[in-house]
Symmetry: C2
Subunit: 285 residues, 2 copies
Amino acid sequence: MLYIIGLGLGDEKDITLRGLEAVKKCVRVYMEAYTSLLSFGLSSDGLSTLESFYGKPIIIADREMVEEKADQILSEARYSDVAFLVVGDPFGATTHTDLVVRAKQLGVDVKVIHNASVMNAIGICGLQLYRYGETVSIPFFMDNWRPDSFYEKIQRNRAVGLHTLCLLDIRVKEPSWESLSRGKKKYEPPRYMTISTAIEQLLEVEQGRGGSVYDENTECVGFARLGSEDQTIVAGTMKQLLNVDFGAPLHCLVITGNTHPLEEEMLDFYRVKAETVNGNDHGNA
Amino acid sequence: MLYIIGLGLGDEKDITLRGLEAVKKCVRVYMEAYTSLLSFGLSSDGLSTLESFYGKPIIIADREMVEEKADQILSEARYSDVAFLVVGDPFGATTHTDLVVRAKQLGVDVKVIHNASVMNAIGICGLQLYRYGETVSIPFFMDNWRPDSFYEKIQRNRAVGLHTLCLLDIRVKEPSWESLSRGKKKYEPPRYMTISTAIEQLLEVEQGRGGSVYDENTECVGFARLGSEDQTIVAGTMKQLLNVDFGAPLHCLVITGNTHPLEEEMLDFYRVKAETVNGNDHGNA
């Protein structure tokens, strides 16, 4: 059996009892590295904390490994219980559909253990989840590569008053251009887009496209480390949020659509205050 | 401190370790009754199972109680730790924003402990969560009250190829019309909309409105008891799903938009089979 287990958004205590039970009976435990190294502070220290918490070793599986060694993982899962741990929910912002499809094709049983993901935890800011339109991704702009297909999507959402969740780019274990050209893989240091960068890019695209979809006075909500003990949530205009220090990643951003009075009342608790700009924490809702 | 704790979608084992820790230290534990009575099989038996699991009594709080006794709950939370348990995620399909707003206004600290909700757990069918448009609710049609505002929303989603999550009506502890007219509250038995009823209503509205937004050949995915051990997930056309016996509630329905090849591959595992019509289970993904 292949157990795909969501770990939730905070730390080792956000696993469900069902998930922990499954981990405990698995003979091998893989952990998706894409966001986990960050979210769980998985320096070698963090990893050993988690290993002693589970009482067994964890194999960190980066994307390359999942792609290259999927057959090995799946053949282990055919005859024994194997866990694949995923930050958030297994089918949240990043997806593990491919691994599930390959498992099913090989006749390996799969069991999914759900958990919170960014997609539902953003509900904490008070904007109703059923009032969101399509989710967009904001990629890091490069000198000659500035993809802005998110613009039309935000436009469509705002045209009918819907909120937009913007997922911000994460670059982990990206081979450097230089190393690729030399035929030997070396990796760039990891990069996580901040809310400031996202807003700068959004405003740049608006200026270029000129569709008046949003501007620096558009109300947004910024989230950092959502679901963890030190999460920061601040509501304000794009211009205001540009100057807020949200601290360590991961960040995400919601562009508000039309709001109802109850949504406004809740947002009021998160509105930008002078001291936030110096990095003070807003704590949990 | 008021802890608002998501219980996830299955049974008592779907609470997170963080959530269980919080419940254990609370002096009083309320549980939202709106969907919980059903999801957790909380007949008096189920309730006592949960109570012995937590090692303390649980006060079932229906909507009336939450509205009428919010002040009492909050004043308890001002001087001691109080838990308010919610099926799914606290800000999932149903919302507890109002309670949080009142707490904050009274200066009561609130801590939210997230969990899986229908909004992210539907990812298990393989349709990517970022390819969904606005979520719609399908209310029970009555003789002279057939609200169909969901139609335009589905139309907008499908016009740009997005999937639509349809949340199906739940009527728990609704005062009967008869009792209201007599000035003495008596309650209707609980009703949970099935996928068949939802599809019948959807097709009726399409026939009346004639916008060719969808028809009986439109591909959908039906979910029953999502996230629980005996969940059933079946993909097929509206016409096919009309004849599938999904069993006990809760049900929800996804109307697919344009699908990518990987989404199709995953849906293939759930496609309607002859035997499903007789109520056989599809198990977990």
